[in-house]
Chain length 105, copies 2
């Protein structure tokens, strides 16, 4: 099992709307995440827009490729892209996992 | 169950040593974390020293107070404090949880 943590930066002027959108993620998006192996997936937001993602999966490369191949993800990422700073493409392509340095079960 | 995410900043010049220390956390520290309800606890490090902590617990306020009352934690935090930037006290007292904006089981 892999534990994955990544960071993104939400534009401060879009924070309220970002929160609203993530309180009502499309059911089809949730189904696609589950079907492609994203588990125990949370997003946490700091007041300045720093966003932390945490998830567990058996194979992150596979889970990421699986999502990237879905039509619903392409639509979701296109709508989410303008919420983020310093992205050269889709938000899901900008996820750069950090290194795990400690774990206690 | 609460999912908690917090951020700290490790001094860039101490990153290697920070990694080494966390690959060999004292067994007494691990026992104390378990005994006070810290579960599925991971630390992730970005190259510039940004540190992300993620944990699950039934009661974060209680887990935090429980650890703060242990002697082993006082010793550990005293040794860890010089590794961090911009702290006014012990690292465990500087943990400011972010807000969870999304979760998928």
């Amino acid at each position: 099992m892999e534990r994955v943590c990544f960071l993104l930066k939400v534009r401060p002027e879009r924070l309220a709307e970002y929160r609203e959108r993530h309180a009502a993620v499309w059911p089809g998006m949730l189904d696609a995440l589950r079907a492609t192996g994203w588990r125990n997936y949370s997003l946490f937001l700091r007041e300045d827009g720093l966003l932390v993602g945490y998830l567990e999966t058996d194979d992150f490369a596979g889970a990421r490729a699986g999502m990237a191949a879905t039509e619903v993800n392409a639509r979701w990422q296109a709508e989410m892209a303008p919420f983020f700073e310093s992205l050269d493409g889709r938000p899901d392509e900008g996820m750069r996992p950090l290194t795990e340095v400690f774990h206690l079960d």
